[in-house]
Amino acid sequence: MSVIRLTVNGRAHTVDVDPTTPLLYVLSDDLELRGPKFGCGLGQCGACTVILKGEAVRSCSIPVQSVAGTEITTLEGLGSPENPHPIQQSFIDGQAMQCGFCISGVIMTAKALLDRTPNATEAQIRQALANVLCRCGANLRMIAAIKRYQQQRQAGVPSARTERAGAGERRTA
């Protein structure tokens, strides 16, 4: 066991854990965060995704010791139910999920991409999400929610709430 200092969602934490513990376990067990989730433990599905230094990474596959002192952002670090981040609001507006278990992978991966590449094409968005799994099949709504967020962002209204767009009949990806 060793004492490790972590900065998660802007707050400092000190944990006393086996330094080889996957970051995900520390986030969900020691810090009791609910955003990142265990899907496979193999870095294959994305459910555990967090943002580290601007990159979307799989927290199930990183030992906690390697991120000591690095700013870590989880899904709850973006916004709250009362005040969601615009990308979260876009998913809520578009009713772009079903069980929602995969949502950290989808939102955190898309956010990291658009922070880095604001004008990402749809092909680039899909490429970034190539190894993120939504088993309920909300794929079209998710891509649409990401693009809506991107458009808002490009229009310079990052906090504006969009009209609810979930009930549209025709969806294209």
């Binding site: 899907g39 496979c40 999920m97 079903q98 929602g100 088993r135 794929n139 969806r171």
Partner: protein, 781 residues
């Protein structure tokens, strides 16, 4: 009680807390008592039906506090489909209260009625028609009107309920809120079968696209899934499964993990092995290091010839769904006889999150937080497993990762319970990806042989179906913990297959719950035709054999496999007589609602009327052929109409199939939430594409080899998805039907038919991998 609480936070409030806060008294009840009331022996087949025994007591469903807040109790839970929000809408509508004044408690054996299992697209039929939750709300609303009539001295005809109060029509100043009428007391009423439901024409909440109430918490990482349940003093467990099918435990070397940090205990019960530690990582490492000796596994049949193996089994359980008795004669006299064989693989639920549960078993008290679809049945089987009485066990539902049927939720509940009992402290268990995929209850493989006889005009005059599938275990129900892996490892037997051959003659009314009978048959038994089609000469014989793997319901269980065979074969027949596939279907369908969804989907898709295959579309030049296909179904024979048009492109050199457009029409009666229904239709199509094009459980030697997302690869977010268009045929005055499993049922057939239309190649084995499509292309003559 604040409506701002997330659903889980609300549900976390115990009934006692609710009573304290709202001032309402709530009468507890016992499922066993109601089974007796209904004249059923507890544990009898009827009492164990998919929808449980419910409750005739209004107070079991609805409580209204003196403050006017409404708490409803439901035995049908949110599995990610939007049912929680839809049930809130139902209560708000039927009881005439604002939706934000309603709290819904779902699936907790200490609080909610026994509604059996949330599955089979049965939640709408059971809770939104004239029974259970809907009837409870209607009964309560009428009771309030009667109370107000007495209070105000006004006849009930002159009163109306709205906004949580009863008021005199035309004089809103004379108004009594529900809270005042009931005064924090119970109703002490039985559900009134004659209570009048609010007509759909008056709906203002139900029937509208109310956004999911749980999404803000989910999207911001605040929602409490079962994976997030934390209990004081909780430890972490990890199971050690056998390495191969049929392997049994020889010995465990506890010394191999002695002194490992945080290790609390190694637990062995018959073939069940697990470890408990302070931290999840410690448990995982201990499970990896623990030396366990197992016997050799049982060799599995060769996967390459598995369907032939299945087809040749002799100890079968046989069932005749229909048999007009004249099929052989009609086939012998037919102008043309066509035959075809379809094969479907084993597929898995493959939930994104592995199964997880928390159990706290101390002495004769057990509480299990579980994502099970079946809290009441699980209460009984967990009690059996733990050697307790059912009333000593409480199951509290917490949503898990989408399950799509009996995934690992029950298994892991047993794992947690066994480990917790062994250490006398709460234990959380989360399965590894490999353990979940290697041992879950797969949707079974099928091989289906069909023949039809045609008259000289090309109309079908006889239909003969013979199908083989497999079974082992399944839902544990109320009394079979051995139906899932951990129950079996702990020493309980799974339900096997009791051979029965020949099949008894069909009696009673047609039960087409597994869609074994094609839509084009009359489904006639004893002079009563409950099928949807016109073909009178019909025989539908199915065989079930013992499966080497656990099996269980997977989204559209058996319905998908059967519909794949029926709808693909129907397309072959249409092509053989050079008929347009849509027109040919309509020629053999007599159910007007099924005809309507077929017509609606075709119209929306701009269906090009002509026989398949399409000829000469420039594919030689581009190397890509395009085509369209149709499939339809009345799900479960009575639970949701759906038709789907798929448009695909086939790469002629690689065999790769891309679905470009999917147009679905659905009629599930009155639509509770249009956007929610569309979300289900869209998700079902993408789930269906994944299963049609990619998914197949694989094995080799004595073990499963599809054990992670590389070896079992569903549709990921980067994979191409079609444009999806949906048509909802709303029938406000019809009975509510299921909406969650219709599109997935028809997707594989529609895609296969579109492949044929594009290329003239018929792929009769799913999934339609590039290799299989290429082989079919090469086999064209």
């Amino acid at each position: 009680m604040s409506s701002l609480l997330t659903p889980d936070a609300r549900a976390a409030l115990s009934r006692r807390e609710f009573v304290k806060r709202s001032g309402a008294l709530v009468v507890a009840f016992s499922a066993a008592r109601f089974a007796t009331d209904l004249g059923l022996a507890p544990g009898s087949v009827s009492a164990q039906g998919i929808n449980g025994v419910g409750s005739p007591n209004l107070d079991s469903w609805i409580a209204v506090g003196a403050d006017g807040r409404v708490t409803a109790y439901t035995g049908k839970c949110e599995l990610g489909t939007g049912l929680y929000t839809a049930q809130l809408q139902l209560v708000a509508e039927e009881l005439s209260v604002p939706i934000d004044r309603v709290t819904l408690i779902q699936c907790d054996t200490s609080m909610t009625p026994d509604q059996g299992t949330t599955s089979g697209a049965q939640s709408h039929p059971s809770n939104f028609n004239h029974a259970n939750l809907a009837l409870a709300c209607a009964t309560a609303r009428e009771a309030f009107v009667q109370m107000a009539s007495k209070r105000l001295g006004v006849p009930i005809e002159q009163l109306a309920a709205a906004d949580g109060a009863v008021a005199v029509r035309g004089d809103p100043s004379r108004r009594v809120p529900y809270g005042d009428l009931l005064g924090g007391n119970t109703f002490n009423l039985q559900l009134n079968p004659k209570a009048r439901r609010k007509p759909a024409s008056e709906w203002t909440v139900l029937g509208t696209s109310v956004p999911r109430v749980d999404f803000p918490a989910i999207a911001t990482g605040r929602f409490e899934y079962v994976h997030n349940v934390r209990v004081p003093g909780m430890l972490h467990g990890r199971v050690v499964r056998p390495p191969a099918i049929g392997a049994t435990l020889v010995q465990v070397d506890e010394g191999s993990v002695q002194g490992m940090p945080g290790l609390v205990k190694v637990v062995v019960r018959k073939n069940f092995v697990g470890v408990v530690a302070d931290k999840p990582w410690q448990a995982e490492q201990a499970a990896r290091r623990l030396k366990v000796e197992w016997t050799a596994g049982t060799p599995l049949p060769d996967q390459r010839t598995f369907h032939q193996h299945l087809r040749s089994q002799t100890a079968t359980r046989d069932a005749l769904s229909v048999d007009s008795g004249d099929v052989d004669t009609m086939l012998a006299g037919a102008a043309t006889v066509l035959r075809s064989t379809y094969m479907h693989p084993y597929q898995m639920h493959a939930s994104v999150g592995t199964a997880c549960a928390v159990a706290d078993v101390q002495g004769t008290r057990a509480t299990i937080w579980s994502a099970t679809q079946a809290v009441w049945p699980l209460r009984n089987t967990a009690a059996t497993l733990l050697g307790l009485k059912p009333q000593e066990v409480r199951i509290i539902f917490r949503m898990g990762s989408g399950c799509y049927g009996v995934n690992g939720a029950d298994t892991v509940s047993y794992d947690a319970a066994l480990l917790s009992q062994a250490v006398g402290r709460p234990v959380r268990v989360s399965l590894s990806r490999r353990d979940e995929m290697s041992w879950e209850n797969y949707g079974p493989a099928y091989i289906i042989e069909q023949r039809v006889g045609l008259d000289p005009g090309g109309t079908i005059v006889a239909w003969d179906y013979e199908g083989w599938s497999l079974s082992l275990g399944g839902r544990p129900g109320y009394n079979a913990p051995g139906n899932v892996v951990s129950g079996r490892l702990a020493g309980f037997q799974p339900q096997g297959v009791q051979p029965r051959s020949p099949a008894p003659a069909p009696t009673g009314a047609l039960d087409n719950g597994s869609n074994t009978v094609p839509s084009y048959c009359t489904g006639a038994i004893g002079g009563s035709s409950r099928g949807t089609g016109t073909v009178r000469s019909e025989r539908v014989l199915s065989h079930v054999v013992l499966s080497p793997f656990f099996t269980g319901p997977l989204r559209s269980p058996a319905r998908l496999q059967n519909t794949f065979a029926h709808e693909s074969f129907m397309d072959e027949i249409a092509a053989a007589v050079k008929a347009d596939p849509v027109e040919y279907r309509l020629r053999h369908l007599r159910d007007p609602r099924l005809r309507e969804v077929v017509t609606a989907a075709a119209a929306k898709a701009g269906w090009d009327r002509r026989p398949s295959p399409r000829n000469g579309n420039g594919s030689r030049r581009s190397g890509v052929a395009a085509g369209r296909g149709m499939a339809c179904v009345l799900y479960e024979g009575d639970n949701g109409y759906c038709a789907l048009v798929a448009e695909v492109e086939v790469n002629l050199s690689t065999g790769l199939v891309t679905v470009r457009r999917s147009v679905a029409a659905m009629d599930c009666g009155p639509v509770s939430n249009p956007d929610g229904a569309r979300n289900q239709m869209e998700g079902g199509i993408i789930h269906g594409i994944s299963r049609a094009l990619r998914e197949e459980v694989t094995w080799s030697g004595d073990r499963v080899t599809s054990v992670d997302w590389r070896t079992y690869r569903p549709w990921f977010l980067g994979d191409p998805v079609p444009v999806i268009e949906t048509v909802l045929v709303n029938r406000p005055d019809a009975e509510a039907m299921g909406a969650g499993e219709t599109t997935v049922t028809v997707t594989a057939a529609a895609i296969g038919n579109a492949i044929f239309d594009a290329t003239g190649a018929r792929v009769r084995q799913s999934p339609f991998t590039p290799e299989r499509v290429k082989a079919a292309l090469e086999a064209r003559t």
